[in-house]
Subunit: 541 residues, 2 copies
């Protein structure tokens, strides 16, 4: 066997016939973690990577099956509360699909999309050279991502061990035997409570034929095994966030992209509180970049012999046509694989297979919890992590409930799009007497005004004012409370987390107006609110 990172560790141990790599007494540097994960991914190391205090035995207070966002945060919380926890993942790292195939590559690709877009609009002006489309490669970005992703994986393993003192077994499948028993690598571990956290995968709609053809990808297969050719065009089936985000990236590279969607974009069931003005600005800007967005259609089949050559679609008017392409991307949502748990535990699932839980993350079987994407929408990081925390708190004896019906949301096109709380229409329906503060204000067209303006849109403000973004916040005139906020631009995403908290706390326009803005701020809510806060009777702005 070659000398590998694993050999260098010299911590290979044999115990009761099981082969594993025992890391509990070893502190690995970031570099060595990266090497070890690489060896595990390439099959050089096939043994489980184990960080377990064996001297304490194999009985746990809680076992998390799945070490993604929910399993890891739940484990951290359980550990902090004094529970003995174990988290098990089939991958050789904690953190799950986000840093491996999902939100991290999406963010990298969305940054590339934003940057390519910026360089295109400014091509051959100022300090910008002519944009060279032939250099803009999807494959290069995938390669770059795959080359670097183990760094974040290494960090999460390091942090979970060295800082959070979690116990974990990685690079090994967990088999749930019963609600108190989990088998890993042929060995059984017992537990008081069990938390299921194994996530979802892309749903390939069975009614669409040909999805198994070469040239058909989803966000996961785009990375592993990975797209290995530069497509000449792309057709996206579905109108989800994933469709908008990856589609905007493909288009930005010069790969002409068509989105086929049943519902209008951002009017899907899975996205709530999407303001119509925001939606219009976002979708108009996708079209302005050259994307084709075909709404109200029904994709029927991926056509082609051995590989995808086009998508047959029934249009809104009932006619059918084939849109030719060598690259089909599926953005139709995700489904879990919960059959093993139903079989082993008898837990209840809904008709799509998502595990049914209450607000304490308890399943229908006492002592068994489920968290994260496995329980359904929203499939967002905050929910996964807080589900984990909620399960841990309940297992530790605290009656803690998590209501995730209201939350801030975002997506990327070549912009960051963020929203929280009620839309203008929802606010009007619920409260009647409201004030809307927006930029540009009603009656002024985007082309006329360089505002809103802040980091990321400054240059547009002086070259193409219509590209600087759109923003709106809404107040209830009676209580003067902030009801909702909506933003398309750059740099406001971080703030929307706190706006969500403040809206829930009942922040008023008067309190907003007394905050200390950092000018120019990406959303101009504080100062615009102040311009109106002096009025006993609120008005639009």
């Amino acid at each position: 066997m070659l000398k590998t990172a694993a050999d260098n560790l010299r911590v290979r141990r044999y115990r009761k016939g099981w082969i594993l790599m025992d890391l509990i007494d070893t502190t690995l540097s970031m570099d060595r973690w990266e090497d070890l994960i690489h060896d595990a991914e390439t099959g050089v190391v096939s043994e489980p990577l184990e960080n377990v205090y064996r001297k304490r035995g194999t009985a746990f207070d809680v076992i998390f099956v799945g070490g993604g966002a929910g399993g890891r945060f739940g484990s951290a919380y359980a550990q902090a509360r004094g529970l003995r926890q174990l988290v098990i993942d089939k991958w050789p790292f904690l953190g799950g699909s986000c840093p491996h195939q999902a939100c991290v590559p999406h963010h990298l690709f969305s940054e590339a999309a934003r940057e390519m877009d910026y360089m295109r609009w400014n091509s051959d002006t100022l300090w910008f050279p002519k944009f060279e489309e032939e250099r803009a490669s999807i494959v290069d970005m995938i390669t770059l991502f795959k080359k670097g992703r183990n760094n974040a994986h290494a960090f999460m393993n390091w942090q979970s061990k060295e800082q959070l003192d979690m116990e974990y077994i990685l690079n090994a499948e967990a088999i749930v035997i019963d609600k108190h028993t989990v088998e890993v690598n042929g060995e059984r571990f017992t537990t008081q409570s069990l938390v299921l956290a194994t996530g979802t995968r892309t749903h390939f709609p069975p009614e669409i034929a040909g999805l198994d053809k070469a040239g058909v990808y989803d966000f996961a297969t785009l990375i592993d095994p990975g797209l290995d050719y530069e497509p000449t065009s792309c057709v996206i089936i579905g109108g989800s966030k994933v469709a908008m985000e990856y589609g905007s990236f493909f288009q930005a590279t010069g790969c002409h992209t068509t989105i086929l969607t049943r519902s209008a974009l951002m009017r899907t069931e899975s996205l709530h509180h999407v303001d119509e003005d925001l939606r219009t600005y976002v979708v108009d800007n996708m079209r302005l970049r050259g994307m084709d967005i075909i709404e109200g259609c029904e994709p029927l089949e991926v056509v082609g012999d051995d590989r995808a050559a086009g998508v047959l679609v029934r249009l809104a008017d009932g006619t059918e046509e084939v849109i030719e392409t060598d690259f089909v991307f599926i953005g139709t949502g995700e489904r879990p694989n919960t059959k093993p748990y139903v079989d082993a535990l008898g837990i209840e699932v809904d008709k799509k297979g998502f595990v049914k839980v209450n607000s304490r993350m308890q399943t229908s079987v006492e002592g068994v919890y489920a968290i994260g994407d496995l329980i359904g929408s929203p499939m967002e990081m905050f929910k996964a992590r807080k589900c984990g925390m909620t399960a841990a708190r309940n297992i530790s004896g605290e009656a803690f409930e998590f209501d995730f019906t209201e939350f801030p949301d975002f997506l990327h096109t070549t912009y960051e799009v963020t929203w929280v709380g009620l839309t203008e229409q929802e606010a009007r329906d619920a409260y009647g007497d409201i004030s809307v503060i927006q930029m540009p204000p009603k009656g002024i067209r985007h082309e006329e005004l360089s505002l809103p303006l802040a980091e990321g849109s400054m240059l547009y403000g002086f070259t193409r004012p219509e590209l600087t973004g759109f923003q709106k916040c809404i107040y209830d005139n009676k209580s003067r409370r902030l009801l909702g906020a909506h933003h398309c631009g750059f740099g406001a995403k971080d703030a929307f987390q706190y706006l969500d908290h403040l809206i829930k706390k009942g922040i008023t326009i008067d309190e907003m107006g007394e905050m200390n803005e950092l000018f120019l701020n990406p959303e101009h809510f504080i100062q615009l609110s102040r311009l109106r806060a002096g009025n006993p009777d609120l008005q639009d702005l």
Copy 2:
């Protein structure tokens, strides 16, 4: 006379011998406002632009002398509270120096700096062509800014008139006769209360010889009349925010920049709560981009015959040398011109000339208020605007105090740098038992870790991890309250406004951990806090 925008208005009026352009009954579009401002700036229109309800007479509840941020926001608040207000500005637009010469061009230049930096680091890789330094022109950016700035001016005139119903006179100097009388264009207006809001200008230190030479600029003269050559290098006198921000831009264009500063950067009296780890990361990164930062020195003289050829400086070791340059930029702070008010009103000023006020913005003379930069540091937008609001509230009869001792702060290099609350050292001194949550964590070097990671740093995460930024937040272990937050990266500025509010409200790590993050968020405070919040005894992370 040529046919101009002003002629097209057909609203020129003559009244009692005074010539002015009466706009009160006219609604101008954005375009027409832009034309009118342009005509005023170029001298085609020399008359005052007046938006005054003449039929209500010339007696006001409050007159704001100066229509910058403070005067405009104060006017909006006064108007909303039912006071009759008048605001007067010598420029043909409201909004003051910020959109004309200060924060807006600074933001445009800082965006250019960030973008040039990004394109340099990635030069000739991925989709980035080779960075062409010869295209990166300071003059081009100034020209671009000047060409577009009237749009924001137009908007503020439009908004102040059409939405906020303010009364104003622009393009006319206000002369304060006494505390109840202001003269404009030869006509006298009377008022119950007077608010002084005429700002500051760059302080050219008299002890430094040669600052009147050609080739010496400050932020204002850089724009008007404007730098009209491409300098081969730059020497900045002073270590203020302006020095760091403009210096980073000049350097990014390829104009090698040297900062001469007495105090270490970010350790000046005017910046408080600068965490040492943050400072180190920021300054190290300026040097990494090739800037020379000479601390502890004393600039003595701008040398050269008719124009600047270098700066004579006494170094920290006492030796003197000339640093050759054809471009000297002054970043030594600002001073007000308050002598006319002292003469006319007898108000008290401090030894630098700043007007003394109490927390209600009242000067030593009853009925006279002063706001904004005129009263001293911090010379920030939030303070100017809230001073205006504070004066208006007090004039309207509300006893309202404004304490601006604690506020969030930021500056640009090629990064956004933001901070609020206590530094680690201040927190340790004040509370003893604290927890520090930071990224990268203590013990991991920037080169080892691709985190922190979010929009703006994603590509660096996969190419140059040491450039992704730095962040830290600090909790008091006893109360579990957030004490301070510090960030260098991109996209967190907006959030720091709300963090300031939340810190003042006493937000705890437990509340932070229960917020809904939008992953990947530029500062990772919510999720990192959650990883520790389960602990009864807080610890570092």
